[in-house]
Subunit: 268 residues, 4 copies
């Protein structure tokens, strides 16, 4: 029992929020000044970055957040949240269920793509770096995160509007050009020597947006989770409103197939 | 095995999103038209309600979402997410941890308040209904959800700007007056016969906003979870950036007190 | 900043475990004495109750824990955990996903049944109390929790062995007779005036076990969650071993049905 | 819509459980034969491995499961579950909260240690392989997972009973000797050239147990989660019984320290 109460208080130090009787400061701003004066997306930026965004930054952030909200109930994050909503838990638990599934494979492609973009953007020759990276991935038969889509052919409908916005913003000098150049170099390298191209998907396009805006890769995942939480909530609520109880993946009367041992008796 | 594949497909029916090769419709709108043209808050409304909000509705929604983002690491939702971020899980799991804690007690006051507001708003005499409700709660020594705050005296700094915005919007005829009237009637009834008033807190004020906007009570909770997820993410990231591993509630060297049985030997 | 470090330490007081350098006491017993000398089920009892169980108590606890481990991938808790296991999260997150779904509707019937059993067991006339309860539920068209099963006709295969064990233990005088009598009274009352009986299901039978053992209703749920976590883990691992990525509820090529608005253009 | 209902059923194929009206087979055994005849730990083994354990295997499994149940409320998994229990969620959610925190850093050391043990156990010269591994970790200033403890000096009280049991079982020829030899070789290598040894902790000792029993490393984590869920449940219930609401990490009246920007006005 060697700690003082100051050490305990210090154990929970934060630079984000200060709370005292009658006072809530968020990144230094009194909350009552923020309410009614900043948008939700500006508030997201403020909380994560410490300052308010420029108009150009905000526009890109809004676009990326809008693009990720939903991809339908075939996604496990959405399906799990819909099932949760029928099990007698609150919408908070349904959101937690869905958000929790956005792991390295289901929600991490954007984060992984941001890490690749950073490497390429800082190379002397982005095109060469992209070609090398694609060759290395192909040699290991791995997918380059952020490119290709098992459903959207010829291309993900979210790619063009996002890339269009980043291009405009780069050309206006409002964000640095490196991540966009890196992403396009990867897309070009992936198309070379292939019958059909492997165009950027929403993870790749939002990775370019978030990297252009200066977010670290981990926050790319974090922002995707915020965005997809909207779809998770909408679907959980749709399911909860329908009143079904204990919804499993298969309709009543359909069983999962079984490939285990045949019936046997316990030898006891 | 009596189901057809149509029944299976129908088991997962949704009215929110349609996904096909090259196409994502969100409430009927192609996603590529939404990106760059609607804000994140508009998209939230669209996903939950099916149509885009009016400017007046959007302004209230933004204000409520901004007001709930954070209340510091003393809140269990934030503390748990910060601890999660030191345990070797992704930010998705940290967000899930925090969101999951926004249950009936920690995150449900707004939802419960919305249910009360509806009852009062539809009464013939809102003031009388509010007084009766307060009397009933006092008789059972229960707190009226959405009113009072253990820390914020004399009042929660988020109350006035939210109520100010709702008042303006009601006066402009852009939202119905019932929820605001009900909330103020409750606040008045709670102040009567008391040495000190029990003013509305952020849960009560956002309950009025969400009820004025026509959201069902459950979605009041859902929207609060979306809002607080921003603070959860910011705090989880701050903690993760700090690099601490396996952060518990107490600093190193401080132990939890113990009031269990003294040491004893197993009789085997 | 008025708290002392003693108050902080006291804020986290526990009677379960004392940890110091080189020492871990669990309910007073040094952990090194427990390892190798008590079974896992005995340890569960010790942690929850503070003392070790008798042989008769242990036998019932083991039986109830064994009975609840799994009901196949059609259960949403299992399906969600299997999907989680394909999303790039650890088995800890997959278990959390499944356990989280065992809410009031999916995992709470046993807890609710225990509450009913307590009421009936303390009534002067258990049979009359059971009949009244059944009549009240029928009047409100509610299911009596712990009875009936949408799949298992004529009866849940877990009912008879559990009830057989409780009966033996009651007859030996090792547990009180009230919960068993209450449960059988409910089953009898539910069969009266019906073409087909509504026999006890696993939730009802384990409710009798846990109530006979003196667990509070909430812990009935808690023990069910521990039990089902075994199935959740087995299924999550089976799925993870299979190597599938981002498993949704429907196989590739099958889409969810859509009943939302037809495609429309954004008017901006 | 190209899938048939057989494909859908097949999408959810399992070898663990078969459910049909009146029938539940677990790994081929009718559940009614298992209830009352196998212990909970035997059932855990059966569900994960497909067959029942030998008496020697069971003894080791029980010991490992007993050893991991709790380490007090200073552990973030326990603290988060206790906080959850005060937020108005069910014990299922409290368990999910705690289990979810057992990630790569908080719950993954055993799994990582098992991977190391496998490598050393299959080397021609286990001692040399252990020394090389220790040298490599020290060169990168990394901790060898499963060894050392920030609190337990000179050694973790769970080490000796676990290693004693494995040694007996190896000597009886009931489990292969490789993992034990590898673990002891690592412990010896870690002690060389050090003022104080770095003895095996509970993660290392249980890693030896689980590897000796033939579990894959991922299931080492899974079994730890099952074990620790017992402590999580006990603590969550202790907290819930106490009736506190919205418990944060710090007692009332103690604030988190703040190191962010000073108060400032929004320029709008």
């Amino acid at each position: 029992m060697t700690s003082t109460s100051d050490e305990v208080s210090g154990w929970w130090t934060t630079g984000i929020t200060r709370v005292a009787p009658g006072e809530i400061l968020l990144r230094g701003y009194p909350v009552q000044q923020l309410i009614g004066n900043v948008s939700f997306a500006e508030q997201i930026w403020l909380m994560l970055r410490g300052e308010l965004p420029t108009a150009a930054q905000l526009r890109l952030l809004e676009a990326a957040l809008v693009s990720g909200v939903d991809h339908g109930p075939q996604a496990p994050s959405i399906a799990a949240a819909r099932m949760a909503a029928t099990c007698g838990v609150g919408l908070n638990s349904a959101i937690a269920t869905g958000a929790g599934l956005l792991g390295d494979v289901h929600g991490g492609a954007g984060q992984q793509c941001m890490e690749l973009l950073t490497g390429i953007a800082t190379a002397d020759d982005a095109d060469a770096a992209a070609r090398e990276l694609v060759a290395a991935y192909r040699a290991e038969r791995r997918h380059v995160p952020g490119f290709g889509h098992r459903l959207h052919h010829p291309r993900d409908p979210r790619r063009d509007p996002l890339i269009g916005l980043v291009t405009e913003t780069v050309e206006a000098g409002d964000v640095p050009p490196g991540p966009l150049r890196a992403g396009l170099a990867l897309e070009t390298a992936l198309a070379e020597g292939r019958g059909k191209p492997v165009p950027m998907n929403v993870d790749g396009a939002t990775a370019i947006v978030y990297a252009s805006l200066g977010f670290p890769p981990e926050l790319g995942r974090g922002l995707f989770v915020l965005s997809r939480s909207v779809g998770i909530l909408a679907h959980a609520w749709e399911e909860m409103s329908g009143g079904r109880r204990i919804k499993g993946p298969l309709p009543k009367g359909m069983n999962a197939a079984y490939n285990g041992p045949p019936p046997r008796d316990l030898d006891r």
